[in-house]
């Protein structure tokens, strides 16, 4: 068994989908949840050399909690090193399989997301770098604005296919 084929199967097996100016992608990578006490301050990107090469993004996930998202899949030792460095003020929980990452980009992104998101996504109210936990339709997600017209969603793995299908439906009119 030591030579068994080990394959990572993401929750949604899909190539990027384009609907007119809208692009839906599943960028993969790693997702780490940082658990601090309420009121803890977030680590700045600079304090995470272990994942520096993986273009990490830091997402608010509630009081004292963040998601670190990297485009490159981190190795176990990298995660351990990071955890050791952040301890004891922050605990690191690997959620790379537990959350599924969806990227939505293109000019109609905000209009598309407004079909499921109750939050005001006006760039002045929800500027680039903002992230929060909210619903997309009936499905809970962590929603982040990564650019003027680009957003990322982190969703529980079990709901990923349903959310992906919902987003495709919401995008239909732009394609």
């Amino acid at each position: 068994m030591r030579d068994s084929a080990l394959m990572r199967r993401p929750a949604v097996a899909s190539e990027p989908v384009r609907c007119g100016d809208l692009l839906l992608e599943a960028p993969g990578g790693s997702i780490l949840q940082l658990l601090g006490k309420a009121g803890a301050t977030p680590p700045s990107d600079m304090s995470l050399p272990e994942v520096a090469g993986a273009s990490p993004g830091l997402r608010n996930a509630g009081p004292g909690q963040w998601f670190v998202v990297t485009d490159r899949e981190l190795t176990g030792p990298e995660i351990d090193a990071l955890a050791a460095r952040l301890a004891p003020s922050l605990h690191v929980v690997d959620q790379s399989s537990g959350r599924f990452r969806i990227r939505v980009s293109g000019a109609p992104s905000r209009r598309m997301l407004a079909k499921g998101v109750a939050l005001d996504l006006h760039p002045e109210r929800f500027p680039v770098g903002t992230a929060t936990s909210t619903l997309v339709g009936q499905i809970g997600t962590n929603l982040a604005r990564t650019g003027q017209d680009s957003f990322e969603l982190l969703v529980l793995r079990g709901f990923a296919q349903s959310l992906w299908d919902d987003l495709l439906l919401m995008s239909r009119e732009f394609g």
Partner: protein, 985 residues
């Protein structure tokens, strides 16, 4: 039929001719027509039959309040009954059908109801069909519903799609007439985010039907200029065809946008209707006013309509109402129409003005009869004449159309949906709404009259709202308005003398003046009682035209002011909203999300039959060739686990990581049993109580490090336990440093169980799995596949066999499950589903929420010794309540039928042997049953009074619902390996 279309003028495009049908008859209209204007242009004045008396009815209004011109649009799955012809845009190929008539619109058998009308007054059904009671549901109600009614819905599926959408703005302007446009433009120029919603296809309101000019521009041109400027502001969104139907808490308004209700073949990529939820910081209601009909005999005959509607059809749609019209007015607005009619070449036979002191309007050729009323209109399917009373004399005047100008009711419904009460204003002769909670009224909705004053009002209210929000308002200058007839306030005319025929108050529900008199005479004079007694205001138009007239008539009958009568309660929705729009995209596959286990596809590949468990789909069993019943599959899976080894997906169990220096103390307080001293690398069964001492949930929690635990919960309570823990951490013990993360979805978790499990697992797990190295209840991070993957291994057992649960990152779940199946092949490994899992746990006497059903405390399940003597834990205080420690409580027992061929069902009750089957003799009930291949018969778990001390006793199992009685014996709940030798093997 002759055409009533004027040769020129109006906002219709004569170059774009649109063919449509009405009751199968081909007709032509123009782009810019509504169905109502097109029908009128074609001379089709009879468009429907009334609800109760089946009276001929025509178009009464030009807007959302239309009570008469209700038709069915479309065919097949797109059939839409009760569509207001006044709101339906005309499109090429539109098919409209009249309703509530048989066999045809012109000849309707139901019209005989009109002859029976002396017997069909208010309250008639309740007085007449009292006896025998049984006939009401069987005969009377179905018959009445068939005879009186609206259009019929289709049973075919709707082929179109719907969606919901959120929007946000600083200022929501409801209505895009002159008031709304002025308000919106003020806000736009001030830099605010603005949404303007208008229920009509084209924004502009009365600007589209006035003949006045603004700054020298015709009304429509002025409206277009304002709309063009609005469109140039990036933060302004104009929503035409969007009816704001409700105002809800938090400044949220509901609106329905008819995206594609005006096209024959909707684009399938777009919805036909979109439900908006608009979160607005402030709102200006510029909803205008509804013209009051006048309550005279025959005021429902086709050809009678409100003056404003007639003016709209004339000026906007270039449709003449007839050849010879009369105008019955209580105020100056009727003269604007009379002048326009004359200019369009329609003879105005008379203007009948109820006021003694009406001014003369220069240029009007028509005869003006002052201090006069129309008491009755005459005609069958079309009006032919009116009776005019003046100076105590009656005069009959031949006309083919009649306009009613009874004054205006401001449209205040939205403002009053959240409890605000309208107040009667004698000065306005109308009910007005107060400005409340960030919503203000402007223009005609606030009782303002005249284009210039409405414009100013819109600017003023928008400026005030913007100032509140911290903007510096940029007010617009009021245009110079010429040619506007501004009606001065005039007293309403409720009770018209000399009426002989039926004078309708509520057209749609066929409530006439005599019904309201009757209501007052019979003691139902209160406005809410009168409404229910007469059904006035209860039709789909919700009394938009009728309520205020009814209040006026009730006030007259009771000798009080309309303010004293008051209004009925305003509620959403303002106009009917389709179920499609309310459902949005949530139907079919998108009805609710599906939660998929990481091993879902793996199980599907192996032919699993799935069962819905909440939102999860769990694999139930894995049928094999030749198996014809689920029991065959389940029995095989159970026996294989007992004899060889099986693999079951338990990924949907809740999993929570509990970290922090105080994690041990936290768990010690959350669980009733001790957790503080659990060593690192060990798992322990934990029992969580509610505050009231009853068991809340159970599961296994493992200590992975000094300050890190991995908790599992039941599938059903995963979210509830997480919330409970968060509450404990945040509210009960904020002094404890503990952090929680739900990791349910991170791990694919597999129960691998059976006597041969160790050999199978050892081929995948790098660590030594011998009993000495990895004993019962060991729980550790493990290396897999020669260090290529890390996972977590727990030596715990739900089946009673030697068993492990292996957790791996979910994305690798399928690979690992495949590898285990491959490794287990020589040992006879088989997958097993939740049905087999259930049988295995019942055989072992393990409890689930069947037993932990909210009525049991630890001692009831034999867990008394688990409850630790520690300073505190959730549920500790209440657990010692008298009733929870009293003798005679139900206790967990096993149950087997005396005859192995017999069986019993979950939910059956347990009686002492020989006792009569009564609830008084109840000894307890069966919580779980299964056929046990191991025992060879049905077995059960039950909660029985003092059960723990009654093992061996013969009892009766009674199912009163199915009339089944089985003799059985109480036993230990553990049917398999009571000494737990297998667990420690």
């Amino acid at each position: 039929m002759s055409s009533y279309r004027l040769p020129s003028g109006g906002l219709v495009d004569r170059a774009a001719s649109l063919a449509f049908t009405f009751d199968g008859k081909p007709m032509q209209g123009f782009a810019g027509d509504t169905l109502a204007s097109a029908l009128l242009a074609n001379g089709q004045r009879l468009v429907g039959r009334s609800f109760k008396y089946h009276r001929p009815r025509g178009v009464l209004t030009a807007g959302a309040a239309e009570p008469n011109a209700l038709v069915t649009i479309g065919t097949g799955g797109r059939t839409e009954p009760n569509t207001r012809a006044t709101m339906q845009e005309l499109y090429a190929g539109l098919e409209a059908t009249s309703q509530n008539r048989w066999p045809s619109l012109a000849f309707d058998v139901g019209a005989v109801n009109g002859l029976l009308s002396p017997f069909l007054g208010a309250g008639f059904y309740y007085k007449t069909f009292m006896w025998p009671a049984g006939l009401w549901e069987k005969l009377y109600e179905p018959f009445i519903r068939k005879a009186a009614g609206l259009g019929r819905a289709t049973y075919e599926a709707d082929p179109d799609s719907y969606e919901k959408c959120w929007a946000h703005c600083d200022l929501l302007v409801v209505g895009a007439g002159v008031t709304g446009l002025a308000a919106a433009l003020t806000a736009a120029r001030s830099g605010a985010r603005v949404i303007v919603a208008d229920e009509h296809a084209r924004a502009g309101g009365d600007l589209l039907s006035t003949t006045a000019t603004l700054d020298g521009l015709a009304g429509p041109a002025y409206a277009d200029a304002m709309l063009r400027e609005l469109a140039s502001h990036p933060e302004v969104q104009v929503l035409p065809r969007a009816t704001v139907f409700g105002w809800y808490d938090g400044g949220v308004f509901g609106a329905v946008e008819r995206v594609q209700k005006h096209v024959a073949a909707p684009d399938p990529r777009r919805p036909v209707e979109r439900l908006w939820r608009i979160a607005a910081r402030r709102a200006v209601l510029a909803t205008g006013a509804e013209e009051r009909p006048l309550v005279f005999g025959g005021n429902d005959i086709p050809g009678v309509m409100t003056a404003g509607a007639m003016r709209t059809y004339l000026n906007r749609h270039a449709v003449a109402p007839g050849r010879r019209a009369a105008v019955f007015t209580t105020n100056d607005s009727g003269y604007a129409l009379a002048g326009d009619l004359e200019r369009a070449g329609v003879e105005v036979a008379a203007v009948i003005d109820s006021r003694p002191d009406a001014l003369a309007f220069p240029g009007l050729r028509a005869r003006v009869i002052r201090e006069a009323v129309v008491s009755d209109a005459h005609g069958g399917r079309e009006i032919q004449a009116v009776d005019v009373w003046a100076d105590g004399k009656r005069e009959r005047i031949a006309v083919d159309s009649l306009a009613m100008a009874g004054g205006f009711n401001p449209v205040i419904a939205l403002a009053c949906q959240r409890g605000a009460k309208p107040r009667w204003s004698d000065a306005h002769g109308a009910f007005l709404a107060p400005d409340v909670d960030g919503l203000s009224l402007a223009g005609a909705a606030a009782g303002v009259t005249g284009l210039a004053a409405c414009f100013e009002s819109g600017v003023r209210q928008a400026s005030a709202a913007l100032s509140d929000l911290g903007f510096r308002p940029t007010p617009l200058a009021t245009p110079v308005v010429e040619g506007d007839v501004v009606p001065a306030p005039a007293p309403p005319l409720w009770m018209i003398p000399g009426v002989k025929g039926k004078a309708f108050v509520d057209y749609q529900n066929d409530v006439h003046r005599a019904d309201l008199d009757l209501a007052v005479r019979e003691g139902y004079g209160h406005v809410e009682l009168a409404k229910r007694y007469t059904t006035n205001g209860m039709a789909t138009d919700q009394g938009k035209l009728s309520n205020v007239n009814a209040i006026g008539l009730l006030a007259k009958a009771r000798g009080v002011s309309p303010g004293e009568v008051g209004t009925t309660t305003f509620r959403p929705f303002y106009t009917p909203v389709s179920f499609g729009a309310l459902t949005g995209a949530h139907h079919g596959k998108h009805f609710q999300p599906v939660r998929k286990s990481p091993l879902h596809d793996w199980a599907a590949r192996r032919g699993a039959v799935f069962v819905e468990t909440g939102l999860w789909y769990r694999s139930s069993w894995f049928p094999r060739d030749g198996e014809t019943t689920w029991r065959q599959s389940v029995d095989r899976e159970v026996l294989n686990v007992r004899a060889n080894v099986g693999l079951c997906d338990v990924s949907m169990l809740g999993k929570i990581e509990v970290c922090g220096p105080d994690a041990a103390e936290f768990l010690n307080r959350v669980y009733c049993n001790g957790f503080a001293k659990l060593p690192v690398g060990k798992a322990r069964y934990g029992l969580m109580l509610r505050e009231d001492g009853f068991i809340y949930d159970d599961g296994t929690t493992s200590r992975l490090a000094e300050d890190r635990y991995f908790m599992t919960t039941t599938t059903a309570y995963a979210a509830g336990v997480m919330t409970h823990l968060e509450f404990c951490a945040q509210a009960l013990w904020p002094e404890l440093d503990v952090r929680l993360a739900s990791v349910t979805d991170q791990w694919a978790q597999m129960a691998v169980a059976g006597p041969k499990v160790r050999e199978v697992l050892q081929r995948v797990v790098d660590e030594d799995l011998s009993n000495a190295a990895f004993p019962y209840l060991a729980a550790r991070d493990v290396s897999l596949f020669g260090g290529r993957l890390r996972g977590r291994l727990f030596r715990i057992s739900f089946s009673g066999e030697l068993a492990y649960e292996l957790a791996v990152p979910a994305d690798y779940g399928e690979s690992v499950a495949d590898a285990l199946m491959q490794a287990g092949e020589p040992f006879g490994i088989q997958p097993y589903g939740v049905e087999a899992l259930g049988v295995l746990r019942i055989e072992k006497g393990h409890v689930t929420h069947n037993e932990i059903n909210g009525t049991v405390v630890p001692a009831d399940l034999g867990f008394a010794r688990m409850v630790a003597d520690k300073p505190d834990f959730v549920g500790k205080r209440m657990l010692s309540r008298e009733a929870l420690v009293a003798p005679g409580r139900p206790q967990l027992v096993g149950l087997v039928p005396l005859d192995p061929a017999a069986s019993f069902r979950t939910g059956s009750h347990v009686l002492s042997k020989g006792a009569a089957a009564t609830l008084e003799n109840d000894q307890g009930y069966v919580t779980s049953t299964a056929f046990s291949p191991h025992v060879g018969s049905t077995i059960g778990l039950a909660l029985v009074k003092n059960g723990a001390s009654r093992h061996g006793e013969e009892v009766l199992v009674w199912n009163g619902l199915r009339n089944e009685m089985t003799t059985a014996r109480l036993t230990s709940p553990v049917f398999v390996d009571p000494a737990n030798e297998k667990l420690h093997a």
